[in-house]
Symmetry: C2
Subunit: 345 residues, 2 copies
């Protein structure tokens, strides 16, 4: 067995107050200990940055299944890597995995973590398995396929439209023939989603400008389907813009992850009654058994050039905190990924 | 044609601020004018009091289909009566109707109002057609049948449980074999729903007491289905008490009708994501074409003694404002109805 380098991890140095900052995290170096029976070691090539994990950085977050992250421990996150040694009967060196391990170069697991196997020969660039073929793409796929059902004649509104999930969700709605409008935070993102991703129009959120009026300007006949990654006041404006019998798919609420204080809720819930709206939330990882179906569909679109897999890529474990902070500042165009190792997977 | 007495109506004297008061309304006497071609006149026997109409008393309420009520005009409401003269081809003297006319003794219509015909020979007391067989029962039926789907093993929570809709909704959930808990505002109502309506348990809302803890005391395994008539902080507590994949049926939001200011929304909408909740609103009158189905089902239960049709009955047109105010003070046990005329229908 070859001697491994030290393992570098990013640990939770303190619980973020509001949007995460680089200084909420610290780089920690530790030894790679020998495996125990029933364990395997994964060399992580890529870290996926997902805003939803912010929620588990709060002290009183989590539940029995996924408890709050511990201070001083490596930060829970999604990684993509390769098994390099194994004393576990189900895992063999060379297995390629996407898993909920931690922000670190090497992870040891007993197989009880959330783990998805990748094919031995990857048909797409590895990072695509964290983006359009990963949880990001899954979120867009399940939200649209299982709940949203966009179709021709629908006006589909998507918040966080230039983010990881939004950038895929919009393309999926376009494939189904809908008119698709994205809510973004800057002119640059508005230009990007309309020229690069096929969005029909963009709404730019600007401090002090009423969002509802901006939405109705781009969706003059109202909104039939809202796919929400942001929550809070954006959800409230969308409820106001919905047509009767509209569907609201709640995928995430990045505007609320940054705070221990609860977000003010939509004050227009009575619109849900009068317009007979349907609001449904979903968690991508609870649909684990259908990842195959989703990957086949999304891989097909990718092969046929029907969707793009935009990535905001940074390099090196020490850049992971920055990459995470970028998400909350909206600096990412598409999926945020950190490449940990300058070697092909 | 016989000479008709004067027509007495209750008009909107001023727009209510908060919960409606008797002084927001005034009694007005007018002549019964001769019918024009295409019109018919209905003698109204009963007025149904429904909190939802409060919404249309606000200045900036309503839409193209159902505009805001006008100051000085008879208040829009549901009545049950009999056609006494007609110059309309589809209506004949003796026709029994339930209709969205106004709080008045006689109404003239050209048939374009919301009108449901009743059978010539009523199988149940007329007031039942405004309660369990009227919009009230329809609301309970459609909310439970189309959206809620209660069944054995479900813990069903109902707000406004002693009100018109809640008193029926709870009985319907019991028929389907669920464990049913009602939220009420007083000990008297708690006793009433558990001893008279078959509710398994009651939660009493008390100022300053955390509602969530009270709910979880009565629903120790969490809530699977929430049927909401109240909204606001009650909805927020229910969201917190929901089990994964819970269903929330939004039927009304009486806590919000009393104010021009929007109700604060539920601050825990992210729970909708993490617990994969489904929230759906509905409007009873949009299911007009299925009233026959609902009346058959509810009439069957009523005949078989499986449900009761509790009524809070007042007498005389001048008592209608008091009856409406009673709703918002929670003084009604079951359906609030005013009997306008001391004659059998």
């Amino acid at each position: 067995m070859k001697v491994l380098a030290e393992n570098r991890s990013i640990v939770l140095a303190k619980r973020p107050d509001g949007a995460p900052k680089v200084t909420d995290f610290a780089l920690q170096t530790s030894d790679n200990l020998p495996l125990e029976a029933g364990q395997f070691r994964c060399r992580n090539h890529y870290v996926s940055l997902d805003a939803g994990f912010r929620n588990w950085m709060n002290e009183n977050s989590g539940d029995d299944i996924l408890p709050a992250m511990a201070l001083g421990s490596p930060v829970m996150g999604l990684v993509l890597g390769e098994v390099i040694e194994s004393r576990h009967p189900d895992y063999t060196a060379g297995d390629k995995l996407m898993a909920r391990f931690a922000w670190q170069e090497y992870s040891v697991s007993d197989g009880s973590d959330f783990i998805a196997r990748l094919p031995a020969h990857l048909a797409f660039p590895p990072s695509a398995y964290m983006g359009v073929l990963g949880d990001t793409g899954m979120s867009a796929y399940f939200g649209m396929t299982d709940i949203g059902h966009p179709g021709p004649g629908d006006c589909v509104l998507i918040s966080g439209a230039g983010g990881a999930v939004g950038s895929i969700a919009g393309q999926l709605a376009k494939i189904q023939g809908a008119y698709v409008v994205g809510i973004v935070g800057s002119q640059a993102k508005a230009d990007w989603i309309t020229t690069q991703l096929g969005y029909d129009a963009a709404v730019i959120r600007r401090q002090g400008e009423p969002l509802l009026a901006s939405i109705l300007e781009r969706c003059p006949n109202g909104v039939d389907l809202f796919f929400d990654n942001v929550g809070g006041s954006v959800l409230e404006a969308a409820i106001a813009a919905m047509n009767p019998h509209g569907r609201l798919v709640l995928c995430g609420a990045i505007s609320g992850y940054g705070s221990d204080e609860p977000l003010p809720g939509p004050s227009n819930m009575f619109d849900v009654v009068t317009k007979e709206l349907k609001i449904q939330g979903f968690m991508t990882h609870l649909r684990h058994d259908r990842y195959g179906e989703a990957m086949a569909a999304l891989g097909g679109y990718l092969s046929q050039g029907k969707i793009k897999s935009p990535e905001h890529m940074l390099y090196g474990i020490e850049r992971v905190p920055q990459a995470f902070a970028d998400l909350f500042a909206g600096r990412n165009f598409g999926k945020t990924i950190v490449n940990l190792i300058d070697q092909p997977l």
